[in-house]
Amino acid sequence: MFRVSTQAQTWVKSLLGQDPFKLSIDIYYIFCLTGLAAEEIKEIEGASHDILDYFPTPYQDHQRLIINFLLISEKNRLGIANEDKDRIKKELIEKFIDPNINSLTSSGRSRLNDYANAGHRILSGKMATPGNAAVFLEVWLNEMKEIEKK
């Protein structure tokens, strides 16, 4: 199940429903991109809010790219060497990919939640509680540039 902490859900409450964040997973996705780009994870502590257990239609065409991004960030975070075929196979491909549903395994979804939660932590540490989607997107893109520089 894709999920965010109740704290994160409260933080973005005003954005939900505003264009382009029509679906709950839209904000979750922004958190994921933040965590994945920063290569940081943080487990959800306390209450959480369930979103979905699959990528909905607007994401299905590119879900393999998102999964690929997860593998890349996880490889870098764990410091797996390029030559370490065994770890890449076992700790990334076999652990996170469920080919039968063409998506993530339960561990994969759980790890993506960790990245999303880290994404929320990073953003809430740098931004005030967002109220306007356009301003949030602008500030978020600025933050992403900062993350890129690191």
């Binding site: 264009d19 922004i30 593998l71 997107l137």
Partner: protein, 674 residues
């Protein structure tokens, strides 16, 4: 447990007097098959019922016959005007339980209208019903009904919606023992509940729970009152907003130009907002492909894909190839597939990934080629452009809002107040309405985080507070410990029910296979196929005449399957009457192949196609009795008695198949031969 019927004696009761010994001559072992022919009025049904009553000890029903509502005499008493009427009577059943002999005697006193029972066994002579304890399980009425049965009872199993098949399986496979366990759990819980009433620690907890219920109820009252007040307040605020908007329409004529300017700027604000919406949409669409975020992320995708290629992942071979290879007698190099080789191949197979993972990894790599490497537009630059444009437009939007605010201050309405002042009032109304809406949302929505430890003052949902009150009241009624115990018992009961249903389904599957195989053998034309066993037996094909055949096959096969260790006799009243002549022989043949003892009570035309098959296929392990009343019709058999005729007070019995085969045949010539 093996139960056998060795014989019975009937004297002074409805029907004829008889002494039936089913044992093989000179032994204490009954023949496997026994056929007893009795004419109408011979007491066939009485015998059947008394065998059942003897085995179950249910004699109260027999005594109740003396006090019938319709005032008629007991059906177990002879007609008063009969020549051989007796004031007393008895029925003696001789059985064995695991070769331990037991004799049940039922005494009738027609004058005193009483029925008594006594039992004789290795334990001695005992008043009442006293079978061996080990046999009691199998002597419950519903169980005995399944092996001491009449043809019609068996047929119920295939009658639609009778529920008979289900009940029969529950009994034969003793699945209702699971229900007994659940009943015991309920009883245990009821006993515990009674015991816990005086428990001091529970009393203290009950006080705690009562305090909580009081607090929860107070909270419920508070929430309901607030809800009522807030709903009214919201209506008032909405009315106020309508008035404020109306106030804005009352224009001060001197300010018309300022008002026109303001409207124009408000329109510009809308256009600006629309432009921003388009930019936001484009940005989010670009972000759906994560590599658009930056050139360095794009590079990391390409680098990772390239790395997978270098590592030969997913590779041309899949793990399954090697797993299948070790199952072949020879390796691909034509060398024998030894254990050592198998081990090495399996270890090395771990270097490869499975086909499904391999396909996914290939698609992932293909996506990188299609969406990243071969992408024509520079989407990262496009995202940067959109970002810049969004910043610019957000800035413009801010300025526009400030401009409108400034203009609003200067535009006066007919009341002399500025737009800004009125807008502030409207905003204040909206703020309070927002708070009320939040309250209403909380009041109506179920709060999934609330539980029994949540403080009443933290509960904002009406349905949650209702549920908590209900829960606490249930807990108070039961006591804290008992409440937990009840939950555990309910869980156990569900688990037991699940096991019972799973076992039943498994038995049913096996039974369907066994039944179809038997039916295929018995019924050559007009094939019948059992499709399912639910509350009754569903089948395809077949005619109504085959109904009892199916029912017999059902009972016999169910007994066969269930009783790997148990063996019960099958005593059937009127076994052949409901079976069409076409199938009688086949069913009779099937019966001879049973390993259980089989006793049938026949009458009238049931002999045809039935007796000969039973006899020919089971002799000499068969006893045959012809039992007839001393009436005008059968007087000839008493006047010229058969050498084996055994005479009783009102009847005669001849043992042997030859006599039965020719007995009371329709032609005078054949009757003369007898």
């Amino acid at each position: 447990m093996e139960i056998k019927i060795h014989g019975w004696e009937s004297k002074g009761i409805a029907g004829v007097d008889m002494e039936i010994d089913l044992n093989k001559p000179g032994t204490k072992t009954p023949t496997k098959i026994a056929m007893l022919w009795l004419d109408s009025g011979g007491g066939k049904t009485t015998t059947h019922e008394l065998i059942k009553a003897s085995l179950t000890g249910q004699i109260h029903k027999l005594e109740a016959e003396y006090n019938r509502d319709d005032g008629k005499p007991s059906k177990y008493e002879r007609k008063r005007n009969e020549r051989n009427y007796k004031d007393t009577g008895s029925f003696i059943l001789k059985v064995s339980f695991d070769e331990k002999y037991c004799v049940f005697t039922i005494d009738f006193d027609h004058k005193a209208k009483t029925v008594d029972m006594h039992t004789k066994s290795a334990a001695g002579h005992q008043d009442g019903y006293a079978p061996p304890t080990a046999a009691l399980t199998y002597l419950q009425p519903k169980f005995v009904d399944l092996f001491i049965l009449d043809g019609e009872h068996a047929k119920k199993a295939i009658k639609e919606n009778s529920g008979m098949a289900d009940v029969t399986l529950n009994t034969i496979y003793q699945l209702d023992r699971f229900d007994d366990i659940n009943d015991s759990l309920d009883k245990y819980f009821q006993d515990e509940k009674l015991k816990s009433r005086g428990n001091l620690s529970d009393k203290a907890k009950i006080t705690q729970i009562e305090n909580r219920i009081t607090a929860l109820k107070a909270r419920r009252t508070k929430l309901s009152t607030e809800m009522r007040l807030n709903s009214k307040k919201k209506l008032d605020l909405e009315a106020k907003k309508r008035l404020l908007k109306k106030e804005k329409e009352g224009i001060n004529k001197d300010d018309q130009n300022k008002r026109d300017r303001l409207n124009k700027e408000v329109d510009n604000l809308k256009i600006l907002n629309d432009e921003i919406d388009l930019i936001k949409k484009e940005i989010f669409d670009l972000l759906k492909k994560p590599h658009h975020l930056s050139k360095s992320i794009t590079k990391s995708f390409i680098k990772f894909t390239e790395n997978l290629r270098k590592l030969d992942l997913p590779g041309d071979s899949a793990k399954e190839f090697f797993q299948n290879l070790v199952k072949t007698p020879k390796c691909v190099c034509n060398e024998p597939m030894t254990d050592a080789r198998k081990k090495i191949i399996l270890i090395n197979s771990n270097d490869y990934i499975g086909t499904a993972h391999s396909n996914f990894a290939s698609s992932m790599k293909q996506d990188v080629r299609d969406f990243i490497i071969n992408e024509k537009e520079d989407s990262q630059d496009r995202l940067a452009e959109c970002h810049a444009k969004l910043s610019e437009k957000n800035e413009e939007l801010l300025k526009q809002k400030r401009l409108i605010e400034g203009l609003s201050k200067n535009v006066k309405t007919a009341t002399g107040r500025s737009f800004e002042e009125i807008d502030n009032d409207i905003a204040e109304c909206d703020r309070i309405i927002g708070q009320i809406d939040q309250f209403i949302d909380n009041y109506n929505a179920p709060d999934s985080t609330a539980n029994e430890s949540t403080r009443p003052k933290d509960v904002n949902s009406y349905s949650v507070i209702q549920a908590l009150i209900k829960q606490a009241e249930a807990k108070r009624n039961l006591g804290h410990e008992m409440h937990n115990k009840q939950l555990k018992i309910e869980e156990m009961k569900e688990f037991i029910e699940e096991i019972k249903n799973e076992a039943k389904e498994k038995y049913k599957e096996e039974l369907i296979v066994a039944m179809n195989s038997e039916l295929d053998r018995i019924i050559e034309d007009d094939k019948v196929v059992i499709t399912s066993i639910g509350s009754d037996i569903d089948y395809d094909g077949g005619s109504t005449g085959q109904g009892l055949v199916i029912a017999y096959v059902f009972l016999i096969k169910a007994f066969e399957q269930a009783n790997k260790a148990n063996k019960f006799p099958l005593l059937v009243d009127s076994p052949a009457a409901p079976i069409g002549p076409t199938y009688r022989e086949a069913v009779a043949l099937m019966i001879t192949k049973l390993s259980n003892q089989y006793v049938c009570l026949l009458q009238g035309g049931e002999r045809e196609w039935w007796c000969e098959t039973l006899y020919e296929n089971s002799k000499p392990d068969i006893s045959v009795f012809t039992i007839f009343k001393e009436t005008k019709r059968y007087q000839k058999y008493f006047d010229n008695p058969h050498e084996k005729l055994k005479k009783f007070d009102n009847s005669g019995i001849v043992k042997g198949y030859d006599f039965l085969a020719k007995f009371d045949t329709k032609t005078k010539k054949e009757a003369k031969d007898v």
